[in-house]
Symmetry: C2
Subunit: 202 residues, 2 copies
């Protein structure tokens, strides 16, 4: 199969799907912001992280975030550890529209794939993403499940968290393991115990 045809398909499908469920008066970029802050873990909910994720500049990201903030979809909190930094949190208004309606056409299309294909398909996408990001010298934005910085054996003993992030030197809650992270480094290939293991309901 022609690699160029695959590249064309990726661009075409991404383009077509990005302008799909643009309800609520939000643009494609604004939806991307909301989806990102819904999925990003606590180390990654900053304007700079979104800019890196989205492949744009910090300036552009700042504008879009400010716009969404004035519309009441995001609230801003200054970080206490680093007082330059800012943490963005979705408002109830944002989570309300995220749960029931966003790029549903694309989700349905993925859902219509044969179930045996979906896993391989997602792996191929993740691989291509990693390759492209690596060539750019930018972080590939994965989750803890396959991150080199994940530490711990999955056994929680006497109140101790079962996992930790070796990069941030902080314990990780179980429900944090499937959030995307700017510090992601591809490492161990999916050897996580517990209720996550790549198929978490988010």
């Amino acid at each position: 199969m022609d690699s160029r045809a695959i590249a064309e398909l990726v661009l075409h499908l991404g383009r077509i799907a990005s302008g799909e469920g643009l309800v609520e008066g939000l643009t494609a970029v604004q939806w991307a912001v909301l989806r990102y802050f819904a999925r990003a873990n606590r180390f990654s909910r900053t304007p700079s992280a979104f800019a890196a994720f989205h492949g744009t500049t910090r300036g552009t990201a700042s504008q879009t975030i400010k716009n969404l903030e004035t519309q009441g979809y995001l609230t801003r909190m200054r970080s206490e550890a680093d007082r330059r930094s800012v943490r963005l949190v979705l408002t109830d208004k944002a989570t309300a529209i995220l749960v029931n309606d966003l790029f549903e056409a694309l989700v349905r299309a993925a859902d219509a794939l044969p179930s045996g294909v979906r896993g391989h398909f997602a792996n191929a996408l993740q691989r291509m993403l990693g390759q492209v990001a690596w060539e750019r010298g930018k972080p590939p934005f994965g989750t803890c499940a396959s991150c080199k910085h994940l530490e711990g054996d999955g056994c929680s003993r006497e109140g101790q968290a079962p996992y930790a992030c070796g990069f941030a030197s902080e314990p990780l809650l179980l429900e944090e393991l499937d959030g995307v992270c700017i510090n992601f480094v591809p490492g161990k290939p999916m050897t996580v115990k517990g209720p996550v293991a790549g198929a978490a309901p988010r």
Copy 2:
């Protein structure tokens, strides 16, 4: 595997890759126009067809095309059958920059996939694209190889073209079979003889 995660990956990869090889002072949309007119067959090299392909409006497409025309990348020819219509052709300047450099990062990423995976991956992408396009009520833009309108048995006898398009009622040259077409309707699953069969070098 979570369908929503796949949808996220598709959008993310498409977004990241679209802003990649933006050399020559061309934007992502302008590259998309050039790539489209390099791949589209003779029934589809019009502003309206590109607008449908790219999921935008005719007005926006008209602007971008006019811009590329003044930069010397496209030449315009009025159609003789329909005198409202316009046919766009790449100039030598455009083909020169297309052959050696365009979204190469994404092509390399697709090339780095295991060879056994590429075929299934492309099929999954095409399926998702078809699903999304079908929900929009828009044409999915495939090639003759799997188009319902393709007629002929692949046997060329005494100067007769071996294939024809039942929609346009015109004979098809062999080298036209792998161009994308706005009149594509998914039909027979890849039963084409000859040097094409889905893996043509373009």
